[in-house]
């Protein structure tokens, strides 16, 4: 038990864990105690809260209202059973949906299957949640990512009052929504608003993989379309960041498919109005989201190593054919000419700043 607890209690982690003491603990008293510490899982209790300064040093409005992560995987005081599936049955991404939003405890394991390095949490924070060994970009919650990218205090949110209904009367949908609302502290899988990057105003939207896999239902489609219309109205560039592995939200049936058409139509309007549109594809960007607003950017940027593609692994499982996971990556999509840039997390803000500066030098935008 103890060993797994030291890693945050995830069964699947224990498979390839190679727990090493952090450098400063390897010698002296700590060094001699280490095997015992490891065996007893004592590190479980050492979990620092998320009150440490954010790695970016930027703390925009509301970002600090994030619930601490330890409260996230549990709903009503117990672990979310629907997520507790055996490893191997589901893509790991599903399993990680809530649990891995922000790594817990003193250590976390690099979630790249080829790396698996155990990383000291503070190092990881300093590197903006990028594995220093293999360059794996960890998934970030939407608010955390906004904190990395936006000017401090510049963000004002649109439409946080839009709430999903259950138009098809799907049996589990309401309870799932309630659970994810509680777990993430958000009303929906997308956050939209007006913000600034390097002093350049920009209408921004971001989908959160921690909320129902960032899937697009009526509310997500509506908020994105409204944000784009707002960008046209304000004549500001528009930045959309996708962390949507779920595509169109199955629970809203055909209505979610229509959100693809809705958001594409809104992008069409922006193009007609000469509004500059940047999309940033983060891990994961799939299916209905990639096949609508996410791939229509004037400039399409991706994070390194992000899973980007059309059909999810389960679709291939159903058809009995396999998909080489290397195909659905930023690097492959970039090589195929489907993305403009692959930008590491540390340089994303400055890249966006440069692009926005160029956009504002065009006559179609005004501050």
């Amino acid at each position: 038990m103890g060993f797994q607890h030291a890693l945050g209690g995830h069964r699947w982690l224990s498979r390839r864990a190679t727990l090493r003491a952090p450098a400063e603990y390897r010698d002296g008293l700590w060094g001699s105690l280490w095997p015992w510490v490891r065996a007893r899982g004592i590190l479980t209790g050492v979990s620092p809260s998320f009150a440490v300064p954010h790695p970016s040093g930027i703390i925009p409005t509301r970002v600090l209202t994030l619930p601490s992560r330890s409260s996230r995987p549990t709903v009503d005081g117990k672990r979310d059973e629907s997520m507790a599936v055996e490893p191997g049955l589901l893509p790991r991404s599903e399993y990680r949906e809530i649990a891995d939003r922000i790594p817990d405890g003193l250590y976390t394991k690099c979630d790249s299957p080829d790396c698996g390095e155990l990383l000291y949490r503070k190092d990881l924070e300093k590197s903006l949640w990028v594995c220093p060994k293999c360059g794996r970009h960890f998934r970030l919650g939407a608010r955390d990512r906004l904190a990395l990218l936006l000017d401090e205090g510049s963000f004002s949110e649109f439409g946080a009052n839009l709430i999903s209904c259950n138009p098809l009367g799907m049996p589990d949908y309401d309870s799932k929504l309630a659970r994810y609302r509680k777990a993430t502290g958000e009303n929906e899988a997308v956050i939209t608003g007006l913000a600034a990057i390097g002093g350049h105003p920009v209408v921004v939207g971001i989908t959160d993989p921690a909320f129902l896999m960032g899937s697009m239902g009526s509310v997500v489609g509506e908020k994105i379309a409204r944000a784009m219309e707002r960008a046209i109205e304000l004549r500001h560039p528009c930045l959309m960041i996708s962390g949507s592995g779920g595509g169109a939200r199955m629970f809203e049936g055909i209505l979610s498919l229509m959100q693809m058409a809705k958001t594409c139509a809104a992008v069409g309007r922006m193009q007609k109005a000469g509004i500059f549109y940047i999309t940033v594809l983060t891990d994961p960007t799939m299916a209905g989201v990639y096949a609508s607003w996410a791939s229509l950017g004037d400039v399409v940027i991706a994070e390194p190593g992000a899973m980007i593609g059309f059909a999810g692994q389960r679709v291939y499982a159903n058809t009995g054919s396999g998909m080489d996971p290397r195909i659905q990556t930023s690097e492959h999509q970039h090589a195929c000419g489907l993305l403009d840039l692959i930008v590491p997390r540390a340089q994303l803000r400055s890249t966006l700043e440069r692009l926005l500066a160029i956009a504002y030098a065009s006559p179609t935008h005004r501050k």
């Binding site: 839009l162 049936g253 209505l255 096949a291 195929c336």
Partner: protein, 330 residues
């Protein structure tokens, strides 16, 4: 009673159609002189005809959602090229996206509908094994969607309305399609259609499968045949994701709300075109005539709308789709 001796025949009838098949076989035998011409021949034919009508009424008046799914995928269901042949005075198929290749899963062309020029795009399924393979089971590839976009943009320049005939289980999602940007092609298709300054009539003929369907599925009027389905995920996928049990597909068809009636209730389609008794495959000519009449009716309506207003109306139409609640801001 005739028996199911011929596997091929059986495969062309759905299990719930078997009673009908037996009557049809018997009728066919009588008419082609398989039975000797006896004086009561006419009476027997008449009786069988009556029985046939009775069965049609009985079987088709109260179909379950899954039976509709089966009908939408019926091996004898008319496909896009059948409608092209039956509805249009003339139809010239065009090929290739001018970028990469020609996708046989997607047809595109120019035609005349009741004397007026139209552009046609649509998915095409295959009738037999080799054609199905050639048509890639109507799973469009990026070049197919780009071919459709090319023809639609041409239609805009030539001021021809666009007729889009949707019938696909899903878009192709294998490595090659992925590498050539199937997602981008579908997204671009929706955007092009949302901005097109000419009327677009979309008809869901059989399967309206998710992204593959919406990639040519944005228009001023969305029509749907009575036994067609329109879904974000096929019932098989729904069952395996929600219940992790692909065998509960019939239940999933019901729960996922994918029939024409559901789509109409949800405001996703504008009109359901009734099918003849026995489904579109029982009377392809009658079905095509009925669809043609509805298309002409809608075209006449849309002719009166100036292009700018048309685009605005289309935007507003899709903009309004979706159900959500807006809480009062305190």
């Amino acid at each position: 009673m005739p028996t199911l001796t011929n596997k091929f025949v059986a495969s062309r009838w759905l299990p719930f159609e078997w009673p009908l098949m037996e009557v049809e076989e018997e009728l066919h035998a009588l008419r082609t002189g398989g039975a000797d011409a006896s004086p009561d021949l006419a009476a027997r034919v008449q009786a069988l005809e009556a029985r046939r009508q009775e069965l049609l009424q009985e079987i088709y008046s109260d179909l379950t959602a899954y039976q509709k799914v089966q009908l939408a995928r019926h091996p004898r269901r008319p496909y896009a090229l059948d409608y092209a042949r039956l509805m249009f005075d003339d139809f010239v198929e065009l090929h290739g996206d001018r970028r990469f290749g020609d996708d046989k899963a997607m047809i595109a062309g120019l035609a005349t509908l009741a004397g007026r020029a139209v552009a046609v795009v649509g998915h095409q399924k295959g009738r037999d094994v080799s054609e199905r393979k050639e048509r890639n089971f109507a799973q469009g590839r990026p070049e197919g969607y780009r071919k459709a976009q090319r023809v639609m943009q041409m239609a805009e320049r030539l001021r021809m309305p666009v007729i889009s005939l949707v019938d696909t289980p899903a878009a192709d999602c294998l490595t090659e399609a992925e590498s050539r940007g199937i997602s981008e092609a579908i997204a671009e298709g929706q955007m092009v259609m949302s901005q097109l300054r000419t009327p677009i009539l979309v008809t869901i003929l059989g399967e309206g499968g998710s992204g593959g369907a919406i990639g040519i599925g944005v228009g001023d009027r969305i029509l749907m045949l009575e036994y067609a389905i329109y879904s974000v995920i096929p019932p098989e996928g729904y069952a395996s994701i929600v219940w992790r049990d692909p065998s509960r597909v019939a239940e999933a068809a019901e729960a996922a709300r994918i029939t024409a009636r559901d789509a109409l209730a949800l405001g996703v389609v504008d009109e359901v075109v009734p099918e003849p008794p026995g489904g579109a495959h029982a009377d392809p000519e009658g079905m095509a005539a009925a669809l043609k009449a509805r298309l002409c009716h809608h075209l006449a309506e849309l002719d009166a709308v100036p292009p700018d207003e048309l685009v605005d109306q289309r935007y507003a139409k899709f903009r309004a789709m979706g159900v959500y609640e807006e809480l009062a801001i305190p």
